[in-house]
């Protein structure tokens, strides 16, 4: 882990969802309650002015973590501490409100996250207006900051393209002058050429305003470009955490290795590799031991019975019994 003081710190974060059938069905069909563990025992720190990225496939719990970090979901267990305020335990309303003002979120779908009946000016200044702040000239300033023009303030969202809408979402997130922004797949709905524009904008803002980011994505190449540190999630658990270059050159978990090999390469002409086997298991009944063992080429008896803990391996952290061996191979 980094030695710099942490701006955001997540400890043993866990979230379970009750996905049982309705009570009557359970009684009639004699079914047990079923609990889905979306996030299980996740801990990490984000130092100030750094970007931490969470990657994983669908169902790995990355968006659930993002929602818990901004307070849209309450953790079942564990804590999220941002700027010294524990979001789930803080009792002082004043301290809570101050902390929340400094946290913002950018969502994946810029078509669904902007109210189509509001003018851009009102959308962007809402985080400030809702707290009774002064919004004179704010929309114009923010629009120019994200590369749009001040005249756009009186338009409606449908007049903008996907990339421009995502800029509007970023402008809205910036309006309350936040320190920490959670971006949940901010460019997945965008085309590559537009994605590059939005990613560049985010890097610029990070440098100019000294922002701290949690960047959630399924795209490893985007993450490698944006992040200072990357956490890889599998079935709700952090399986590896490393700096981008270390993660890409010496992955210390077989799942990371598989993800890297499966990603299509721009220079992989006619590349024929053995595709990965299996799929993400059912999170209601996860496999015993290491959740990855049914798909893992290195799995041994120990993996089937004993769940590996996340431990330091060199500069990285890995949750694999054979992390050292993996690098040697």
């Amino acid at each position: 882990m980094s030695t710099k003081p942490a701006m955001v710190s997540v400890r043993n974060l866990t979230r379970r969802f009750d996905v049982s059938k309705p009570w009557l069905n359970r009684v009639v069909e004699r079914l047990p309650k079923s609990i889905l563990t979306a996030v299980s025992d996740v801990s990490f720190d984000i130092p100030a002015k750094e970007t931490y990225a969470l990657v994983g496939e669908s169902g790995s719990g990355k968006s659930t973590i993002g929602k818990m970090m901004v307070g849209l979901l309450t953790p079942t267990d564990g804590s999220v501490t941002i700027g010294g305020v524990d979001l789930s335990r803080e009792t002082s309303a004043k301290a809570m409100d101050a902390a929340r003002e400094r946290i913002q979120m950018v969502f994946q779908d810029p078509y669904a996250s902007l109210n189509p009946r509001w003018r851009v000016r009102n959308i962007i200044t809402e985080p400030v207006a809702a707290r009774g702040g002064d919004t004179t000239g704010l929309a114009e300033r923010l629009l120019e900051q994200v590369g749009l023009s001040a005249e756009d303030a009186d338009k409606y969202p449908h007049e903008f393209s996907g990339g421009q809408r995502q800029r509007l979402c970023i402008a809205r997130a910036l309006s309350s002058n936040p320190r920490f922004i959670v971006c949940d797949e901010p460019t997945s709905a965008l085309d590559v050429s537009v994605q590059a524009q939005v990613l560049n904008l985010m890097s610029d803002l990070k440098t100019d305003l000294g922002l701290t980011f949690l960047f959630i994505s399924h795209d490893l190449t985007v993450v490698r470009h944006m992040a200072d540190r990357i956490g890889v999630l599998y079935l709700g658990r952090l399986v590896e955490e490393a700096a981008p270059d270390a993660l890409f050159t010496t992955p210390r978990h077989p799942y990371t290795k598989m993800l890297l090999e499966a990603a299509p390469k721009l220079d992989g002409f006619g590349r024929e590799t053995e595709p990965p086997t299996g799929e993400i298991p059912d999170p209601i009944n996860p496999p015993k031991g290491c959740a990855y063992h049914p798909r893992c080429p290195l799995a041994q008896d120990r993996c089937r019975s004993e769940r590996p803990v996340l431990r330091s391996v060199g500069e990285s952290r890995s949750a694999c019994h054979f992390a050292e061996k993996l690098v040697a191979d």
Partner: protein
């Protein structure tokens, strides 16, 4: 190759008549796909990739329609066929794999029923024979326990498994061409790798020609033999995949390759193409790419880029990258 290509598209134009104007989502597109060949069609949203695929298989919804150009399947012209004749071509002649595996299967029929129905519609076989072939088809696409799962409904399958069923469905009547429209976009990377490998293997074994529509350059690089880059309804660049991707000639292809995060490894900023793709209703005069192009000159603002034929020329650009001297003569 001197054989007749499986699919030949010549100067295809698709128009949409709206109240205000006539839009051209596909404008003068030509290409060939030979037996066993995979043509990748890339471009951003709204470039006309899916519209081209739908035009080939005859699934254009009104008011979109083919206004000129020709489509040949194994040498036979198919764009002028009646709807009932076209229906026979779908399945035996052309199979289709759509983006969303959930919406392309009927949720009220078991997977087996859908496969058997498709096969019996197109091939003269009995019910039991069809069932046997359906099991084999499911085994071929890598569905474990195919004999038991054939009677399951689509909801019982995961996304990746569903897409395998859709591929089995597209291939079961042994078409000579498969159009795969963003077949892996809704899937995770590890599943995407499985599906791509499967599609490539099946087509190689059977000699099926594939038109692979996608926005993912990485998928194209690994899968396709030839690539057509589309921009605002026109083919911007057409050629062998390795050449187009490593030595792009059209500035748009160059920009597209450059904006991939992998291409700017170790740099703080990604290379970007300024601006957005123009809307079909507001195409600029001349080459549609010129407002975003750093090489644009007077000719580009005045004249449409050169139209690409199926087999000659690579980039629809007056001043292609890396060939400035020769291009000046044309201008």
């Amino acid at each position: 190759m001197t054989d007749t290509p499986v699919l030949s598209v010549r100067n295809l134009v698709v128009e949409i008549q709206t109240r205000h104007a006539v839009l051209r989502p596909v404008d003068n597109v030509s290409f060939d796909i030979a037996r066993g060949e995979i043509l990748g069609v890339v471009g951003e949203s709204g470039a006309g990739k899916s519209m081209t695929g739908n035009a080939v298989i005859g699934l254009l919804d009104r008011p979109a329609q083919i206004v000129s150009g020709e489509v040949y399947l194994n040498g036979r012209r198919i764009d002028t066929l009646s709807p009932s004749d076209m229906r026979k071509i779908r399945g035996t002649g052309i199979g289709m794999v759509f983006q969303d595996p959930l919406t392309s299967l009927n949720p009220l029929l078991t997977v087996g029923e859908q496969l058997i129905e498709t096969m019996r519609e197109h091939l003269p076989i009995s019910q039991s024979e069809a069932r046997e072939r359906a099991v084999k088809a499911l085994e071929e696409v890598g569905i474990p326990g195919a004999r038991e799962r054939i009677d399951s409904y689509p909801h019982a399958f995961s996304g990746g498994m569903r897409q395998r069923v859709v591929i089995a469905l597209a291939l079961c009547a042994e078409p000579s061409l498969v159009i795969a429209d963003e077949p892996t976009t809704a899937l995770d990377v590890s599943v995407q790798a499985q599906i791509i490998t499967l599609l490539r293997r099946l087509c190689r074994d059977r000699g099926t020609a594939v038109m692979l529509v996608t926005h993912d350059m990485g998928v194209i690089a690994e899968t396709a033999d030839k690539v057509a880059v589309m921009y605002a309804g026109r083919t911007a660049e057409l050629g062998p995949v390795r050449e187009v991707l490593t030595r792009p000639r059209h500035p748009y292809t160059e920009g597209l390759m450059g904006s991939a995060p992998l291409a700017s490894l170790g740099q703080t900023r990604l290379r970007q193409i300024p601006g957005n793709m123009p809307r079909l209703g507001a195409l600029p005069q001349g080459c549609a790419f010129h407002p975003r192009c750093n090489r644009a000159q007077t000719a580009c603002r005045r004249d449409l880029g050169p139209t690409l034929a199926a087999d000659e020329g690579r980039a629809a650009c007056w001043f292609p990258v890396g060939a400035t001297e020769t291009a000046k003569d044309i201008a």
